[in-house]
């Protein structure tokens, strides 16, 4: 997992640096800033989150987990680790993004709620999909294929909400959508995981 964390940080930093270089001297629209921000976070999350369960299956420690702990404990334990990674990544990438691309502005509470809600949903989706993909042998493409339909609506809502926050408004409707998505993931995620985790 150490390698996964380092890969995540490197990927995230490289993405933000690349965006900053490409945007040098330009004034980016709120929508573009929002899209690039979440793209950078997502690119940073993917390397480590994809490995969460795959590394357990590959090294053979998954059986130890299956015997020892309840599925819900495993799901939320992995989720907590991934959420911690999300926070760590944010600590590094958000200031870097502010420095290289665009300083934060707009509705601070809106930003915070989007970051919290978006983080919860992102880590839930990638934790669950990581567990699904770890059971298969064709992992790379499958992970992308499984996560895309779950991530796309979330990313679109996050971008819309972030654009509103950048423009100084509380993104009420996007936050409602994210809250609903989070509820569905909370209720369904652990249940689906339990079915997937047992063969």
């Amino acid at each position: 997992m150490r390698q996964g964390i380092v890969a995540s940080l490197l990927m995230g930093v490289a993405t933000v640096v690349g965006i900053g270089f490409a945007a040098l001297g330009q004034t980016l629209s709120a929508g573009l800033q929002a899209g690039l921000f979440w793209t950078a976070l997502l690119f940073g999350l993917f390397p480590a989150l994809a490995r969460g369960f795959i590394v357990e299956e590959e090294t053979g420690t998954a059986d130890l987990l299956r015997i020892g702990a309840r599925p819900a404990s495993i799901f939320w334990g992995k989720w907590l680790f991934h959420a911690t990674l999300y926070a760590l990544l944010s600590v590094v990438l958000v200031p870097l993004y502010a420095l290289l691309v665009a300083p934060p502005r707009g509705h601070a509470l809106g930003w915070l709620l989007l970051w919290l809600g978006g983080g919860f949903c992102l880590t839930s989706i990638l934790t669950l999909c990581g567990a699904l993909v770890a059971q298969t042998t064709v992992r790379g493409a499958l992970l992308a294929g499984l996560t895309f339909p779950l991530l796309l609506p979330l990313i679109l809502v996050l971008i819309a909400g972030t654009r509103q926050a950048l423009e100084g408004a509380l993104p009420a409707e996007p936050l409602q959508g994210i809250f609903g998505y989070a509820l569905a993931l909370s209720a369904g995620g652990a249940w689906v995981f339990e079915k997937v985790w047992q063969e």
Binding site: T59, G60, T61, D63, L64, R66, I67, G68, A69, R70, S73, Q198, E199
Partner: protein, 203 residues
């Protein structure tokens, strides 16, 4: 009183049946020796008993005083030769983690005493990556037996063990028979005497 029942148990991978129609009823005190050629389904049977695999047909039920238990994984100890350990953790950390997730006593003295029983006490605080194959197998046995689970499933538990480890394994099986059920798979004929019941797969 514990009992393990397999009814019309069968497992298929793709088009190939490993076995089917298996009927077993194991009572407390049974040490079942599972024998068979490579690929005959020894590991598959143990994994089905453990709930690590879902049967293609039939059922596996663990009963306590006649009543099926809901989640038999909570009552079993598992040791497989290909079972991985976390290389970054020490033997002590493994056992402590195991005790905590199983809601078993996790006092330091208890854990170290248990590791000492498997002759790992002096290496308890070294990372598993520094363990030999035999030591890792001893640690797997220590994890499997901690808390005296009523059902002990051992897949080739003799792998990598020296003569001292083999004596330890034999003692473990005999102790298990005093309060539960043990099933172990091996290809080595000299261990046949360890079991009081034998199952030959693939014949």
């Amino acid at each position: 009183m514990w009992a393990l029942e397999c009814r019309r148990l069968g497992k298929r991978f793709g088009e190939r049946w490993v076995f089917r129609g298996l009927e077993l009823s194991l009572q407390m005190g049974t040490v079942l020796l599972v024998r068979g050629a490579n690929g005959s389904g020894k590991s598959t049977l143990l994994r089905l008993m453990a709930g690590l695999l879902a049967p293609t047909e039939g059922t596996v039920v663990l009963r306590y005083q006649g009543t099926p238990v809901a989640d038999r994984k909570r009552y079993l100890g598992w040791c497989a030769v290909d079972g991985a350990l976390y290389r970054e953790l020490t033997g002590y950390e493994h056992l402590r983690w195991w005790a905590q997730v199983r809601n078993l006593p996790a006092e330091r003295d208890l854990l170290l005493t248990h590791l000492e029983r498997f002759e790992l006490g002096h290496r308890a605080h070294e990372r598993v990556r520094a363990y030999s194959a035999g030591m890792r197998q001893r640690l797997r046995l220590a994890l499997a037996t901690y808390g005296a689970p009523p059902l002990l499933l051992l897949d080739e538990p003799d792998a990598g063990l020296d003569s001292s480890g083999l004596r330890l394994l034999e003692r473990t099986l005999h102790e298990q028979a005093t309060y539960g059920i043990a099933c172990f798979a091996t290809n080595r004929a000299e261990f046949a005497r360890w079991g009081n019941l034998a199952l030959e797969l693939g014949s």
